[in-house]
């Protein structure tokens, strides 16, 4: 059966003794681009902490900022709590609302990291708890957040989500059957 992106609703997707996959409620997402000389001015103006190392996450209240690359950050905030986006920034930068581009899935359970190896060429354990990375999941670009030892979030473009979800659900059952 073909799953369409609009068939996916927040809640349980798959669950086994090995792992659980849930789709999360919508959040506000922003892409921020700025060069290093402007980083401090942009951070001060937005009143956000912009981490310096690729993969590091900084939290300001409920807002999370992940460094995706040397001049690129992903900002995630609860819907309606995006005051930072309307602040005036006098330094060159680009702040773009990409909230509707992705869906987010939470992957938890004792085999969560093993489940991700079904599609991730990189070792998920190379991402430390509290960090995140942009990488691939079965050839689709994803952002992986590792919130805890056995607790991941995957942001994936909504058109690729049905494919990723099918694979995650299959893996969830297979890992429990081992």
């Amino acid at each position: 059966m073909t799953i369409h992106p609009h068939d996916l609703t927040p809640g349980k997707i798959a669950e086994s003794a090995a792992c659980k996959v849930h789709m999360l409620d919508p959040v506000a997402r922003f892409s921020l681009r700025a060069h290093e000389p402007e980083r401090k001015a942009v951070a001060d103006a937005l009143e956000l902490d912009l981490p310096w190392y690729v993969g590091d996450v900084a939290k300001t209240g409920e807002t999370e900022v992940l460094n995706l690359g040397p001049d690129e950050w992903l900002i995630v905030a609860p819907e309606g709590q995006t005051d930072f986006a309307s602040r005036t920034v006098d330094a060159p930068h680009a702040l773009t609302d990409i909230s509707d581009r992705e869906l987010t899935f939470r992957i938890t359970g004792p085999r969560a990291s093993d489940l991700l190896t079904l599609g991730c060429p990189r070792d998920p354990d190379s991402i430390k708890p509290g960090q995140g990375r942009r990488t691939l999941f079965d050839s689709a670009t994803v952002v992986l957040w590792r919130d805890g030892e056995n607790d991941f979030r995957m942001d994936i473009w909504r058109s690729f989500a049905p494919h990723a979800v099918s694979l995650l659900a299959l893996g969830c059952a297979e890992l429990a059957a081992e």
């Binding site: 690729v54 995706l68 690359g69 040397p70 690129e72 060429p121 190379s126 990375r133 942009r134 050839s139």
Partner: protein, 100 residues
């Protein structure tokens, strides 16, 4: 699968996260209208096609997104080193091959 070290992420990662982007250190003329047809042809089309160590560009496209440079041996497929875009060409004599 090749493992490639991204100099921006400072991590050694699977080739699938990367894309090859042609020979490195080929700079576009600052004043293109003063370039002869022959030099322009060389800039556009003529490449070294090295058998052995080759200076080449890669992009960590499914990661930090950055372009960087590498020296890869085209015979063994071994990466001798990778370095940030804009840095000077490393001297082949000093490359030990353990940077992968």
């Amino acid at each position: 699968m090749l493992l490639i070290r991204c100099p921006y992420c400072d991590e050694t990662l699977p080739e699938l996260e990367f894309a090859y982007a042609g020979e490195a250190h080929i700079a576009r003329a600052l004043d293109p209208s003063s370039v002869t047809d022959e030099d322009w042809r060389d800039f556009l089309f003529i490449r070294s096609n090295a058998k052995g160590p080759h200076y080449e560009r890669w992009r960590h496209v499914h990661g930090c997104g950055r372009f960087f440079n590498a020296v890869r041996d085209t015979v063994t497929d071994r990466f001798l080193t990778t370095y940030k875009a804009g840095e000077a060409k490393p001297d082949l004599e000093t490359l030990t091959g353990d940077a992968r």
